[in-house]
């Protein structure tokens, strides 16, 4: 019988000490070129085009600062959204949770009175806790009540938005501590980089590392890729999903507080499309709506594409309405390419 046994494939022996180096390059080409890098090239191309057309105005430090500031609050939400989408979920409630958290935070700060960092930090905690509560409610309903994420977060979208309106009677809260507006909202670090950009970048880096390098990140990918496999591997899938939706909520809460700082008001009516913008950013950046695939780096690029388009159209004199058209088209294209890749893979 042993004669009939085929020898082990030669590559099996060669492989471990063989060329994982070159393999990393092919993987790199396969995955990164197909999504993150490609979208980065698109963004780079847009920047080049706008710079060539209107160098005087587009490629300036102050415009760069504008673009980055516009992107920062959305980026904070989109980071949480990326985690959620990688688990093959969705969170439509982030914009409403942002508004609700901002309202709670503003109310807490107003009741405490005063204009100092103590008050501001309590306001931050209030926003984070509000966001966390909504996020965990989302997670519990999705995992324990087994209501689809689309429906749960559509429901909490309405609830959070309605609650914010009930609390404020529909009138924007305008009592925001001046120190908060003056520093976090409009201030620069070293007189150069806006605080908002610093905070958003820190959020993106920290959670980018968490996603790429830690067990929490790996479970996030695994659950999105095959929840049943994750369950059988002994991963507490429900608990992890609650944490992920909780994270999306906390980041929406943080975004609410940042939004208060930036606009010095609760902007109740101004976040109706934040959820879709965050989803679009994640998907543009290569995150798959089917779960299991995505990076924070991609999402950062995905956030910048609509912002750069908007800014570039304004500066080059194109009617800015075209931005929505262009973003919509790019979004569909991104998902189409993701589908193509999946089909190519499953052919194996």
């Amino acid at each position: 019988m042993s004669e009939r046994v085929a020898p082990p494939p030669p590559d099996a022996e060669v492989e471990p000490d063989g060329g994982p180096g070159d393999e990393h390059i092919t993987l790199w080409q396969r995955l990164v070129l197909s999504s993150t890098l490609r979208i980065l090239l698109i963004l780079g191309g847009m920047i080049v085009v706008f710079s060539v057309l209107q160098f005087q105005q587009f490629a300036t430090v102050s415009n760069l600062r504008n673009v980055a500031t516009d992107a920062s609050i959305l980026l904070v939400i989109a980071v949480g959204m990326t985690f959620v989408i990688i688990t093959a979920g969705i969170d439509l409630s982030v914009g409403a949770v942002l508004v609700f958290s901002g309202v709670i935070s503003a109310n807490v700060m107003e009741r405490m009175g005063g204009d100092n960092w103590g008050v501001i930090l309590v306001g931050l905690v209030a926003a984070l806790v509000s966001g966390l509560a909504w996020g965990m409610l989302n997670g519990v309903l999705i995992t324990k009540a087994r209501v689809p994420a689309l429906i749960v977060t559509l429901g909490t979208l309405g609830m959070a938005q309605g609650a914010a309106l009930l609390i404020t009677n529909g009138v924007d809260e305008r009592e925001v501590p001046f120190t908060l507006i003056d520093t976090i909202g409009t201030g620069d670090v070293f007189g150069q980089i806006p605080w908002l950009v610093i905070i958003a970048a820190a959020v993106a880096i920290v959670f980018g590392v968490v996603l790429a390098a830690t067990r929490f990140g790996r479970y996030t990918y695994a659950i999105g890729s095959n929840p049943e496999a994750a369950r059988r591997a002994g991963i507490a899938v429900d608990r992890h999903l609650i944490k992920v939706y909780g994270l999306a909520g906390v980041l929406a809460g943080l975004a609410g507080w940042l939004s208060l700082a930036r606009f010095s008001t609760t902007t109740i009516g101004g976040h109706a499309t934040d959820n879709l913008q965050a989803i679009a950013a994640a998907v543009l950046g290569g995150t798959s709506l089917f779960g299991g695939i995505g990076t924070i780096g991609g999402t950062v690029v995905g956030v910048f594409i609509p912002v750069v388009l908007q800014n570039g159209f304004v500066i080059t004199g194109v009617r800015p309405f075209w931005q929505q058209v262009a973003v919509g088209a790019v979004l569909i294209l991104a998902v189409y390419l993701d589908q193509l890749r999946r089909r190519a893979q499953s052919r194996n």
């Binding site: 082990p8 492989e15 471990p16 790996r218 095959n226 496999a229 299991g292």
Partner: protein, 255 residues
């Protein structure tokens, strides 16, 4: 013969009104390949799921190395050294092989980073490469997503995972059902190598030639009971098929 590593006696399991197992017995000896065969609906999968902690028996006892045990969850089964290669493989297709091998049992870095949950990807990839080498699993690109691998390679990944963690028994549920001729051959080789590592393999299969080629013993399940046990070298295919269909009875036949 040596003491069985795993033994089931009088296992009863019903799903609603369906009695899937009616006092089924099953024995696994150390270091053997034992095939669990039976017609569709004989209760093979239910029995395996009961022994690997997915289902709880309504009655009967499970002995592990001579001691009665309860296996309430798959995690409990794994703690005993029992691993299962599921028919659907239970792999995360978007993750690389090493991430799948260590799924739920990741190796972390040392020190503070480890306490923060940072993965030691290098170590996991290295151990994965070693496991593939030992078992002759031919996966050239160990850092590509499992989705890009062939069916046989995926089977190899799933088997490697089970073997990496099993210290006693590996269950394999229809490991060749979806494979072509060449890949089936590789999986059978894999099963032999697993036995060479000193593990017991329980092979659930419909494919008689395959069962005879690779097994040391064959146990036949019919209508939720064990109706026959054979030594593969001494049995004929007719005997086994007869026992499966009820044409031939051993052990006094169905009670």
């Amino acid at each position: 013969m040596a003491e069985p590593v795993l033994e089931a006696r009088g296992i009863v399991k019903s799903f609603g009104r369906v009695r899937a197992l009616r006092g089924a017995a099953f024995t696994v000896y150390p270091g053997e390949v034992v095939a669990l065969v039976g017609d569709n609906g004989a209760g093979k999968s239910t029995l395996v799921k009961t022994l690997s902690g997915v289902h709880q028996p309504d009655a009967g006892e499970i002995l592990f190395e001579g001691t009665e045990v309860r296996i309430p969850t798959p995690v409990a089964a794994r703690a005993l050294g029992i691993e299962t290669v599921y028919q659907d493989l239970a792999l995360a297709p978007d993750l690389e092989p090493s991430a799948n091998l260590f799924l739920g049992r990741e190796e972390l870095r040392g020190g503070l980073l480890g306490r923060l949950g940072f993965l030691d990807k290098g170590a996991m990839r290295r151990h994965t490469g070693e496991a593939f080498g030992r078992l002759g699993v031919g996966v050239q690109n160990t850092s590509a997503a499992v989705a890009t691998l062939s069916g046989g390679q995926r089977q190899g990944v799933a088997v490697s995972r089970a073997v990496m963690w099993a210290s006693k028994v590996v269950f394999m549920d229809e490991p060749t059902a979806a494979l072509g001729v060449v890949q089936t051959r590789k999986v059978l080789d894999l099963i032999r190598r697993v036995r060479e590592q000193g593990l017991s393999v329980v092979l659930i299969s419909h494919n008689m030639p395959e069962v005879f080629e690779v097994s040391d013993r064959i146990e036949v399940l019919r209508l939720g009971e064990r109706v026959a046990q054979f030594r593969a070298a001494e049995a004929s295919m007719e005997d086994v098929v007869g026992a499966m269909t009820g044409a031939l009875t051993q052990n006094g036949g169905p009670r």
